[in-house]
Symmetry: C2
Subunit: 241 residues, 2 copies
Amino acid sequence: MGSVPVGDSGFCRRFPNGLGFDFGSDGSSSSMVLDQERRAPSRLGGKRVGAGILDAKTAMAMKSHSEAERRRRERINGHLAVLRSMVPCDDKMEKAALLAQVISHVKKLKRNAAEINKSYTVPSDTDEVRVEVEGDMTIAGRLMVRASLCCDDRPEILADLRQALSGLHLKTVRAEISTLGGRMKNVLTMTSEGTFSNVDKHLFVASVHQALNSILDRVKSREDFLSRASFSNKRQRISPF
Amino acid sequence: MGSVPVGDSGFCRRFPNGLGFDFGSDGSSSSMVLDQERRAPSRLGGKRVGAGILDAKTAMAMKSHSEAERRRRERINGHLAVLRSMVPCDDKMEKAALLAQVISHVKKLKRNAAEINKSYTVPSDTDEVRVEVEGDMTIAGRLMVRASLCCDDRPEILADLRQALSGLHLKTVRAEISTLGGRMKNVLTMTSEGTFSNVDKHLFVASVHQALNSILDRVKSREDFLSRASFSNKRQRISPF
DNA sequence: TTCTACACGTGAAGC
DNA sequence: TGCTTCACGTGTAGA
């Protein structure tokens, strides 16, 4: 991959004196270039002069042009080299494949970030129960479920959750509890102990949903009770911490 | 940005008949090309034939060559277009700047992922207490602290934590609890209620560290006690869920 | 005008 | 051998 500059291409085709750009000393050295130009006239504007002498100024312009282009290439390839070191890929991977790899890597990172953020949410002001199956497929015959409950912060909710979920044969792999300003959000990641068919899956999700909703209802009614009895401020913060 | 192909460059310099590649019908149409070739002989090997007729096979090879190169460019630019739509950038941003933007974007995503993973860790098999100040600076005069405790899973640890931290005037903004295979990991994000100088900060971190370590010690000694008394398996899972 | 960024066709090199 | 990749210098359009 890659080739070192070895002469013949580009300038050396057009300026075959092999010396680069020492125009101005001897105009005759570019007579062949002139002949070539006569056959296929350049449209670069004023590149030719009447007697067949290539304009020195134009030559310098072309030199700086090609050098600018070289710098541009180095800039782009430099960035590509950095990307090559940042994504998991072979050192000899070609440019297009490298870019494809970068694309898939960025997509993966974004997917992970979105996945994490789903459970990282700070409790909101609206009560909410959400239950979803983790991934589209059951992994190793087991069901992975993420359930979240957002409601007013009550210390007894942990026990309520435990009780509500106890009949569902779930193993809690991960629990996340956020409290803020008298609100709380619980996010539970759980696996089933048995295997599920697709039909069972939906029934199961529904039953988890119902279990969490019953807790939410209890929190609401208790809140109403407390509110009616004027026992405490609705927004009082009661956190386990 | 960009220019449409308009003739004069490349093939049309070498094959200025303006008709593309209908060689074979009339060899004389490429006599000028031959002259050009004589001045700067190609090294592509076998491109010339004795009488000055450009080999038709070579012409086809060059045609397929330039077309392959065009396809390659389209592939690369296609990937660049995808990246342009994935990172926050102007539509008219040049290639090098786009790649620079991609680099910084990937770095940002990786940094976020690493930051999240610090607290997302699944409980490990080694006991650990970690306390660190969130960010280098105190925000709005307050101290944000992240403390984590990884140890054997005991249901009473939540109460222990609450008690241990009660004297430190901390408000728990976020609590995360993971249990797996009889181990548990607590990650607490807390803010101080007062303001801190740099010196106080370190003292404060040390006291949080000490508080968590005392809990860890208690878990360990209780474990030893249970172990000595043969009450239960050391790895028995006792989870609040 | 000059300066840039782009697409192009090309020679070389690797397989 | 033919096919692919890369770097190169160049023509052209826009600022």
